[in-house]
């Protein structure tokens, strides 16, 4: 078990190392060269000169890479040139990070809360009307572009019906105390219920849009896994013991069927981050996704570079967590 974790951690380091190399190469290949990329069009000659020295552009590539690594490890990704000009890239990250996490968590919660029970029921009632409708919905969910769905939701519920806000994280003039940066949580902690509710209302539409693809995948995997498990001999044994439906479902069917579903949830984080880029743009939601969209639009490479690196790290860490959690939930891994 310990050896396994160590091995996975080493793999993580290897992946990050390769990623840093690719990022370094990428930065050097940007149009206009790294100096223009990092400083933007309107940089002064003096700042260009300073940056050239800092990057060590006249030194061997190997040294430049090491300098790059050094800067990255000390958290220096440069100053934003477009998204929030003047702010350090890292500060932007810290500011926007909770917003996207809050959105992603709620979206994932929706996907899981609907996807798993629906997947179980569809498998139990295979080929029934419920089954067919659910499968078709999940297929359509994958075929609709996320940003179009986001727009559709916004158009119908915000602009036409005025039931929900159409952008941002909170209503403009609402005064709220911030503790963690997670607005819903903050409202609960400070007992400012209206702030919590306001934040929640702003999150609903983007979360639904974002949840569609993870829902579709989680639903299909759950259904397939439950179908497989229902045919297993140990379920037949459980029936032969005369156990109740509830016990068979929870202890025998779901306990086994959910193993592959957990891995899938880990893999979905990548999809969530990607979807967040599009969804946040549609709803002008001030998170990391919007930062990506804006940073490309305004050619703000420092911010873009930081976002790519952090996205990769989050994905790798989440998958590591999923792998390790396998040891907890599957005793066959634990007691090898």
């Amino acid at each position: 078990m310990l050896r396994y974790s160590v091995r996975r951690l080493l793999q993580l380091v290897a992946v990050l190392a390769v990623l840093s190399l690719l990022l370094f190469a990428w930065l050097r290949s940007l149009p206009g060269g790294p100096v223009s990329a990092l400083l933007g069009e309107r940089a002064t000659e003096e700042s260009r000169h300073n940056l050239r020295a800092q990057l060590g552009l006249d030194q061997p590539i190997f040294i430049q890479y090491l300098k790059f690594l050094g800067r990255a490890l000390s958290g220096d990704f440069g100053i934003s040139t477009g998204v929030q000009s003047g702010d350090s890239a890292v500060a932007i990250f810290v500011q926007r990070f909770p917003a996207t996490i809050e959105l992603a968590v709620i979206a994932l919660a929706i996907a899981v809360a609907i996807g798993i029970p629906l997947g179980y029921m569809a498998a139990r009632r295979r080929d029934s009307f419920l089954d067919n409708i659910s499968v078709v919905s999940s297929l359509i969910g994958v075929a609709v572009p996320v940003f179009f769905l986001a727009y559709l939701l916004k158009y119908v519920f915000a602009e036409q019906l005025h039931w929900l806000p159409d952008s941002g994280r909170q209503t403009g003039d609402l005064e709220a105390t911030r503790v963690t940066g997670f607005f819903i949580l903050d409202g609960i902690l400070t007992r400012e219920w209206d702030a919590s509710l306001d934040a929640f209302l702003h999150l609903i539409l983007p979360a639904i849009a974002l949840a569609t693809i993870p829902f579709a995948v989680i639903f299909r995997i759950t259904r397939a896994a439950v179908l497989d498990v229902l045919n297993e001999d140990y379920v037949r044994t459980a029936r032969a013991k005369g156990l109740t439906q509830q016990v068979i479902r929870s202890r025998h069917v779901l306990r086994n069927a959910l193993l592959p579903v957990v891995t899938t949830i880990g893999l979905q984080t990548g999809g969530l981050l990607a979807g967040a880029i599009l969804t946040e743009k549609v709803f002008a939601y001030p998170g990391l996704g919007e930062a990506v969209a804006l940073s490309f639009q305004k050619r703000d490479y420092p911010v873009l570079q930081m976002l790519v690196l952090t996205a990769a790290m989050v994905y790798v860490l989440v998958n590591l967590a999923v792998d390790l959690s396998y040891a907890v939930i599957d005793p066959r891994v634990r007691t090898r």
Binding site: R236, R239, A240, G242, V247, T335
Partner: protein, 334 residues
């Protein structure tokens, strides 16, 4: 009244877009309390399906069950699923073929035994686990307390099957059905498991239906033997009599095909020629006729019925003659 009375049990499988297939064809037999009954036959003869039908474990879609299965006077086939669930595990127990796949891989052995007690005896977890430990000891598992928290993959094949037997017998059911319980095990372990079953059944007075294709298993264990072919019973008799004098050509062929230790070297083996694919439908004569060395004209046109011959049930137009008849025939032809 017998413990279990099966009358004209018929199971027809119907898959979408396929011909209906009769797996079990008007099977009837009784099991008395404490009796061991064998169901013998090749793969596909319907013996497993019979046991699943008795337990009510056949899928409701795709399988049509008709006939009668009376257990202690109650008609099982007409019970609701919930009522049947109450009886399974408590009054009727079942052990299956592959012990590894029959156990839930992610929960400990102790829980898999105790959950039967929790369900049918209303025991709390702690007490049920103590009882489970006792049960594991009774089936011959060494160091049972440690096994309670272990997982199936940590046990050997023989131990797993013992655990499953413990599970099936936990609530002292009156009837135990064992479907090829030793087929997936090593030969030496097979003997141990069969000995265990014989001992438990004797000690607790549980009736046992033993399902197998292996005549050796039947010979050591069962009081009465039913031989199945093509979904129907073709011969039934008391163990010793059946083995000493098999009357149905199929039974005769099965016994004759077993290699014998005392056979002279170089003597050829005698298989039953042909295969199950050569069968003709029971409705058009005797299913075994194409493969039968004793078949006569009537065998391929008239369906043989089960007839009683001195305590032996036989479905055959031209059975293997009894020794006394044989000598009489010989002397008659002089």
């Amino acid at each position: 009244m017998a413990l279990l009375e099966v009358r004209d049990l018929t199971v027809v499988f119907q898959r979408k877009g396929e011909e209906p297939f009769t797996a079990v064809d008007e099977v009837s037999f009784d099991v008395e309390p404490g009796q061991t009954v064998g169901l013998v036959g090749e793969s596909g003869c319907g013996k497993s399906v019979t046991s699943l039908a008795i337990m009510g474990l056949l899928p409701s879609r795709g399988a049509r069950v008709s006939g009668s299965v009376r257990f202690e006077g109650t008609e099982l086939l007409r019970l609701s699923d919930r009522a049947m669930r109450d009886r399974r595990g408590r009054d009727l127990g079942m052990v299956f073929q592959d012990p590894l796949s029959s156990l839930n891989p992610v929960i400990p052995i102790g829980l898999q035994v105790s959950e039967v007690l929790e369900r049918h005896r209303g025991m709390q977890r702690k007490r049920a686990l103590r009882e489970a430990e006792e049960l594991l000891r009774r089936v011959g598992i060494p160091d049972p307390r440690r096994r309670l928290t272990e997982y199936p993959h940590q046990l050997s094949g023989g131990m797993r099957q013992r655990a499953l037997i413990a599970t099936a017998l936990a609530c002292a059911p009156r009837l135990l059905i064992a479907d090829e319980p030793t087929t997936a095990l090593d030969v030496t372990i097979q003997a141990q498991i069969l000995a265990l079953l014989a001992e438990l059944v004797r000690d607790t007075g549980t009736a046992l239906i033993m399902i197998t294709h292996d005549l050796g298993v039947v010979a050591g264990l069962c009081d009465e033997v039913n031989v199945l072919y093509g979904g129907r019973i073709v011969e039934r008799g008391e163990r010793h009599a059946l083995f000493a004098e098999p009357r149905h050509p199929y039974t005769f062929g099965l016994l004759a095909s077993i290699p014998r230790l005392d056979a002279p070297r170089g003597e050829r083996l005698e298989p039953i020629r042909g295969s199950v694919a050569d069968n003709i439908p029971w409705t058009h004569g005797c299913a075994f006729a194409p493969r039968c060395p004793n078949s006569i004209d009537v065998c391929t046109s008239v369906t043989p019925e089960l007839g009683d011959e001195h305590g032996r049930l036989l479905r055959c137009h031209n059975p293997v003659p009894v020794a006394s008849e044989q000598s009489a025939a010989v002397s008659a032809s002089g």
